[in-house]
Assembly symmetry: C2
Homo-oligomer: 233 residues x 2
């Protein structure tokens, strides 16, 4: 630990996020169909946990709101566990006022079943229809607050990655978006590596883009936070 401190000190970024409070969401959400079954997605939570680790190492106060994942809490990070998108929305809104930076890295389920059955649904028919309703949009809610934190989103896509990311940046009023192609298994949901495009609008409203080449998720997380710190100046 002393060695890490010394290394970071001479690396010159030991206090890049000192005095900053960062709120990060990570992992998937699970949307209950009945007490046994649920809808979810393939997020492992690794990227969000790497961001929490990197932010803490850069001196920030970090709160991590995590969906169900199999990962240990990074040292020095405050963790709040949630299950559903609605839970995550409530946990984020309860914490966001204190946050200087919000990073929505969780793969929040866009839809949830319209009704949750109290007991296990019995299967009789050959087909079944599940009616889903939209979950609250956590990222857009945070970014549309009167005095929002510096809000960073993620776009995990399987095609037209940059185009979807640009739409999301503008529609949700994000300050920065990280786009990655989850159809590439080398850098996908359960991988330890990642690579991404960062997109943002400069002060003249021009779209800017920066590629972070393939590296460990912790290295990518550090680069992303360093870039965000530069934009916040």
């Amino acid at each position: 630990e002393l060695r890490d401190c010394i290394v970071q000190h001479f690396a010159g970024n030991h206090q890049l996020l000192a005095s900053k409070s960062i709120l990060i969401t990570a992992g998937p959400t699970r949307e209950a169909i009945d007490p046994v079954r649920y809808l979810s997605n393939h997020s492992s939570g690794k990227m969000g946990f790497a961001l929490a680790t990197a932010a803490q190492q850069l001196g920030a106060q970090v709160t991590l709101v995590s969906g169900p994942v199999q990962l240990p809490t990074p040292p020095g990070v405050t963790r709040i566990d949630v299950v559903s998108a609605q839970d995550m929305y409530e946990a984020v809104l309860a914490q966001v006022e204190q946050a200087d930076i919000f990073i929505g890295c969780a793969a929040v389920a866009d839809y949830r079943p319209e009704q949750i059955a109290d007991s296990k649904i019995k299967k009789h028919q050959d087909t079944m229809h599940l009616s889903l309703v939209k979950n609250p949009d956590i990222l857009a809610t945070v970014a549309h607050q009167p005095n929002p934190p510096f809000t960073i989103g993620f776009a995990a896509e399987t095609d037209d990655v940059v185009r979807y990311a640009q739409d999301k940046l503008e529609q949700k009023r994000l300050r920065l978006i990280a786009a990655n192609d989850v159809s590439d298994t080398q850098i996908g949901f359960n991988s330890d590596d990642n690579a991404m495009q960062l997109l943002w609008q400069d002060e003249q409203g021009q779209l800017q883009q920066l590629s972070l080449n393939r590296a460990s998720k912790l290295q990518i997380a550090t680069q992303l936070l360093q870039h965000a710190a530069t934009l916040m100046k």
Copy 2:
């Protein structure tokens, strides 16, 4: 390991399942909606893995077909990993001819989405309808074969546990069914303990019932296998 062998030898059941081949399914299945999203359930796989461990300790040749779980393979057990119910069905049918005993412990998804989208579904509407179709019934398929293995099923229910288990025993032509109440978190999906009712029909076609009181999943697994060995004689 030597110690375990000696203990088992003097316990007198070291060869209770010697020369038997056992095929066990464990864990949940995941049913893809698109490359990112899926339907699943809360099975941790712990009970199925405990059965594999216990069967191996009782001298059996064990093949474990497992859905996506976070568990190490028990020593001496052959493991086949699968994702969807259809994958599990195919893996089981490829192995079942060699099996003397089949234990369907997996929480197989009853339904899968009618279509799997090739790319991530974009969310535009406020509501979404998911059409589901029934998955193949692995347990019933195995038990209805011309020369079936001794087939054991599980009924994980939230209410009317014994009644549903009895129906399942008869409709699927099982030799033994283990019923447990997954609404009880002390013995539920992610717990290390379990408790269950065993139900079977005796040679006169009379329904018989035996309670296995709360104990570790490994102890419950051993008791279940010992009881199955008795019924097979």
